[in-house]
């Protein structure tokens, strides 16, 4: 009972946050609503006893991805008004198509195949059940091949991002810390012996 109340509260919040993401005018607000959506979905995953995935979602998406996203959005200060031009004009057609598609898909992907009564209720795990351990043991044994491929994809993403953005400018004046550290007094200072100046000379 309490579980259900919590679930529905979170689900409602998630739907609210999700719809706000695409309707609010200010992009920064939209991003913050997306953060809220991530948070609530993480909470729902916790209800499903998937604590590793839930925390990883918060850690990766909320803690890193969305921060960078916000960073860029605040820097660019995007004006969404031109992007929204024609929104009202295309809304009826787009809405109609979307509704039709939803209807068609609803006919196929309905409770006939995916109704909750078609699937058994999953068993509750004991308190010492560690989701993380289970995931790890599957990920590094049964699914090690796709796991490594996924790692290669991330590596390619890094290589691509660096290859596309890094420009080597040979003429730029940048500091070379190793040279700075290696500097000695003799390289910088030359003591010159001079006779002291006489008073009254022009």
């Amino acid at each position: 009972m309490t579980d259900q109340i919590i679930f529905y509260a979170l689900a409602l919040l998630l739907i609210f946050a999700g719809s706000m993401v695409i309707t609010v005018r200010n992009p920064v607000h939209a991003a913050l609503f997306l953060v809220l959506a991530f948070f609530t979905s993480a909470a729902i995953w916790l209800l499903l006893e998937a604590e590793f995935l839930a925390i990883a979602l918060v850690l990766v998406y909320v803690g890193a991805v969305m921060v960078l996203f916000l960073f860029v959005m605040m820097m660019l200060d995007i004006n969404l008004a031109p992007l929204r031009e024609g929104f009202a004009r295309y809304l009826p057609v787009g809405g109609l198509v979307a509704l039709l598609m939803m209807f068609a898909m609803g006919l196929v992907v309905g409770p006939r195949y995916f109704g909750s009564e078609r699937f058994p209720v999953p068993a509750r795990h004991a308190a010492d059940y560690s989701n993380t351990k289970e995931l790890g043991s599957v990920l590094y044994t049964d699914y090690v091949y796709p796991f490594e491929i996924a790692a290669a994809i991330l590596l390619v993403a890094i290589v691509a991002a660096i290859a596309l953005t890094l420009r080597r400018r040979p003429h730029i004046k940048a500091q070379k810390p190793q040279l700075q550290v290696a500097v000695r007094r003799e390289d910088r200072i030359r003591l010159v012996k001079m006779t002291s100046e006489k008073k009254g000379s022009p």
Binding site: V28, A56, V58, G63, V67, L68, S130, T132, P177
Partner: protein, 357 residues
């Protein structure tokens, strides 16, 4: 008296009783924490004073001991100003977002072998996730203030925290590998033995990286470019006054204490006693034995060492330049941590005593 209280207690339904107990536990953690924060600011001013051959605050109360109380009163009574053109809701939300994760992370800290608010399996992950959230307070504050200085400060802070989080995460992966658990209590127990069994020795590079990243994550000197008084006034909280400013201040110091206590838990054996391994008869002496045995006081002592280090660093080093911070994070710390993870893997596979047998 006790009977009546017990009677009233029995009236509550069981679910509510649980909630009340948890709330009381939270209060029992947070109230001392806030007091610690207050006196940490005092300690900071005193210590830096002595390091710089000054006396530090000494006017309010005996030897200045009431100085933090006076500060709190002053901040409470000040007016909260909201800049024109600021986003009012986000402007006020930002301090809350800064302080909430700093407090929430305390839920999983084990104070001794039984005293822990929530002994969850994925404690280490939980800590990582929550410490990564504190940044929202900073960037929202910078953006909502509608001020260039604040914005610049928050941008710097965002880039810095995201960068150092990676090194910090990798350092904690080393801890998790060594302890073979994400549970903080298990991590402490895995360090049982004596001082040499604590993880600071096998994970020495990670220990250093963790603490320095912690300093960077809390935006403390010498990584405090987010505040950077000389360039951007006071960084992200330049527009905040009164209690809103005080909350940022509170969050910063609470985070410092958190990083310190985590460093003690992960690398210095948490509540374990450094004298462990001495003959058992020593610990059976009435009061001395309890003091020398494992317990909360050891955790607090270790934490204080790290807090002193924080302050010492601030008094000693000049501020890093921004590109130097990035260089240190990406080109030095991350490679070191990755390399050391491989070393730990080898150590574990080879079952090197005394840590991994």
């Amino acid at each position: 008296m006790f009977e009546t209280l017990h009677g009233i207690w029995q009236v509550f339904p069981e679910g509510l009783r649980l909630v009340i107990i948890i709330l009381l536990k939270i209060v029992a953690i947070l109230v001392p924490l806030m007091l610690c924060v207050a006196y940490l600011t005092f300690a900071e001013r005193k210590i830096i004073g002595y390091i710089q051959a000054r006396i530090g605050p000494n006017r309010v109360g005996p030897r200045g001991w009431l100085q933090p109380i006076a500060d709190v009163c002053k901040l409470l009574l000040k007016e909260i100003t909201i800049p024109s053109g600021a986003n009012r809701f986000l402007f006020l939300l930002a301090p809350i977002l800064a302080i909430a994760p700093a407090f929430a992370a305390w839920a999983v800290i084990p104070f001794d072998d039984v005293k822990v608010l929530s002994n969850i399996n994925a404690g280490l992950l939980y800590i990582l996730a929550l410490t990564s959230l504190g940044i929202y307070g900073v960037i929202i504050a910078g953006w909502a203030s509608n001020s260039k200085y604040a914005f610049l400060g928050s941008m710097r802070s965002a880039a810095q925290i995201v960068s150092y989080e990676i090194a910090m995460g990798f350092a904690l992966v080393g801890v998790l590998m060594a302890a073979r658990s994400l549970n903080l209590q298990d991590i402490v127990l895995a360090q049982q033995g004596n001082v040499l069994h604590w993880f600071w020795l096998p994970l020495l590079p990670l220990f250093v990286v963790y603490f320095v990243s912690g300093v960077a994550e809390t935006n403390r000197a010498p990584f405090d470019v987010a505040e950077g008084e000389s360039e951007i006034v006071a960084g992200f909280h330049v527009e905040y006054a009164g209690m809103t400013f005080a909350i940022f201040f509170l969050a910063e110091y609470a985070n410092m204490i958190l990083i310190s206590i985590l460093a003690s838990v992960f690398f210095l054996g948490g509540w374990l006693s450094p004298l462990e391994g001495l003959p058992a008869s020593l610990f059976e002496v009435p009061i001395m034995g309890t003091l020398l045995g494992p317990g909360m006081h050891w955790l607090f002592l270790k934490t204080s060492i790290f807090l002193f280090l924080f302050i010492w660093l601030r008094a000693t080093f000049p501020r890093y330049r921004y590109d130097q911070i990035m260089r240190l994070g990406w080109k030095v710390f991350i490679p070191i941590t990755i390399l050391w993870l491989v070393v730990i893997g080898v150590l574990i596979m080879a079952a090197v005593p005394p840590w991994f047998n």
